[in-house]
């Protein structure tokens, strides 16, 4: 079902017009309310009146995650704090969180976008949906929750963690839809299989996101659970989940272009890529009030097409993600930068800065092992002391990353040294 046919099936001309009007209004508002952007525009000799059409978008400055961090916590907000009704945050690269805010209208916009995603996945008021993303500062749980309520579905706010309880309620309530990470859904499927209960469920749709996954994973999920699985994309800086999602044809993720303008750029030259060419995805918000962003660099690599989809939607589609233009890892929905591990290890006197991250997927759950070299000056003859060091490192890393970590002490000089940029990550998850 198409939730908002007017907006999702506009002609490209109408999209162009709508985006142009919204962009020029947005730039004017941001110029007068956000010092950071006003200064940037002034430095570039740019005035709000110079932006009259969506074609002028490329004149605007880029925004990066660093800009958000430099203006921590509320420096980029374009409204007085009294108009902000919600804050979300995600862990940042240096311990400082990336903080995002929403006005009442932003929340409305968010739940509109998520309702479109769910409707596209065939979910409606007759459905019972378990939201098994984490609730809290992470945008996944509450984002899906409000969207599903807006749609009129019956929402069961599971959050993440208790698989047994989730399965019991799934069966007892006759749950028909679920929103969670794809790897967690596979884990649920295996737990059901082991209990011989895989055919005792009524799921028909799954809305999966917050981590990269492959077409093969979709096929596996669909075959095991006899449902249709859909891909949802988003990032908290722009909105949270619901910036884009795929339809039943699975030919790329439709971007809600009436609110977010996608661009694909070459991450080195920053020049726009041709349609179909892989580059870094960049978003400009058109309607966000609390945290409007110009040309935010997502670091996600993909390509875009503007062809009309078989489903009838005219919205541009971004392809499955091809990776990242930086070294960020997504592990169980949590963003992890190797530099975070390094910073955390530096806080522990007994460790060396030589480390390696081993990411794997075991029983469909992502695991992170951090290998740390034992340094002779801190090496003790006692096993107890080495074990407590292991625990201490695991604890520090867990609180820095927001993710449980397995720590392995390794012999000195066994972690590869390199002349240039050290290789810090071995990702054994087969994603492509």
């Amino acid at each position: 079902m198409i939730w908002n046919e007017t907006k999702e099936c506009m002609s490209r001309d109408e999209i162009h017009k709508l985006q142009s009007v919204r962009l020029s209004k947005m730039v004017d508002r941001v110029y007068h309310n956000v010092e950071f952007y006003r200064k940037k525009m002034q430095q570039m000799g740019l005035e709000p009146g110079d932006i009259v059409s969506i074609d002028d978008l490329k004149k605007l400055p880029f925004t990066t995650k660093n800009d958000l961090r430099d203006n921590y916590p509320f420096g980029l907000f374009a409204v007085p704090q009294s108009e902000v009704v919600r804050i979300h945050a995600s862990s940042g690269t240096t311990g400082k969180a990336t903080v995002v805010g929403y006005t009442r209208k932003d929340i409305d916009l968010w739940q509109e976008c998520v309702a479109r995603v769910l409707a596209m996945a065939g979910v409606g008021p007759q459905d019972k949906i378990q939201v098994a993303y984490g609730y809290g500062l992470f945008t996944g749980g509450l984002g899906l929750h409000y969207g599903a309520e807006n749609l009129g579905a019956t929402v069961i706010p599971m959050s993440s963690g208790n698989t047994q309880k989730l399965i019991t309620m799934m069966q007892d309530f006759g749950v028909t839809a679920i929103a969670c990470t794809p790897s967690y859904l596979l884990h649920i499927a295996e737990t059901l299989e082991e209990a011989g209960q895989i055919n005792n469920i009524q799921l028909k749709a799954a809305i999966c996101g917050a981590e990269p996954w492959t077409e093969n994973m979709r096929k596996e999920i669909e075959a095991k659970l006899h449902l249709k699985a859909y891909d949802i994309y988003g990032l908290s800086e722009i909105l949270g989940p619901g910036v884009a999602a795929d339809c039943e044809y699975h030919k790329g993720l439709h971007v809600y272009e009436d609110h977010f303008v996608p661009e694909i750029i070459n991450p080195d030259t920053l020049e726009p890529c041709k349609e179909g060419e892989v580059g870094e995805l960049v978003f400009t918000t058109l309607t966000k009030e609390a945290l409007p962003l110009f040309r935010y660099r997502t670091k996600d690599l993909t390509s875009i097409t503007y062809d009309k989809c078989e489903c009838g939607r005219t919205l541009a589609r971004i392809d499955r993600f091809k990776g990242r233009s930086d070294d960020m890892l997504i592990i169980r929905g949590v963003n992890v930068f190797p530099s975070q591990v390094e910073t955390a290890l530096l806080e522990i006197a007994e460790t060396s800065p030589h480390y390696m991250l081993i990411v794997d997927r075991i029983n469909n759950l992502d695991t992170l092992e951090v290998q740390v070299e034992v340094e002779e000056r801190f090496f003790s003859d006692e096993i107890r002391q080495l074990e407590s060091l292991t625990k201490k490192i695991a604890h520090v890393l867990q609180s820095a990353l927001g993710l449980s970590v397995k720590v392995k002490l390794v012999e000195p000089k066994t972690i590869q040294r390199s002349e240039g940029k050290a290789k810090r990550v071995i990702d054994n998850r087969k994603l492509i």
Partner: protein, 141 residues
Amino acid sequence: MIKQLSVFVQNEIGSLANVTSVLKDNMINLRAIASFDTPEFAILRIVVDQPEKAKEVLNAGGFAVKVTEAVAVELEDKPGELDGMFRVIADAKLGVNYIYSIVLRNGKVPLMIVNTEDLTKTASVLKEHGYIVAEQEDVNA
């Protein structure tokens, strides 16, 4: 007291052989060896005839090595000897962390290497009770 080397090794195939081959290549003779393992790593404890040289060559081979003192007690090959030693240590209110032994000593009696939280006190109470505590020279030959 004698010198003992503790070497950090990962619990992996061949990791013990990596240590022993470094010793062999440098003509260092092992007198005793004991491995204390956890699922992830092990501490290999060894007594050798040339402790300083052993540390040097193991360090050069990339190993983390700790040289510590160890109490090595001469025990005669008869029932009750070990029991007597443990009693002396227990009566002195000392806890044993680990023990291992040197059995082959060219006709001499075996040595029991014992680690407690207070090695000096352990050596002295044992001596008070008539036990012979070996010195490094005793294991060099």
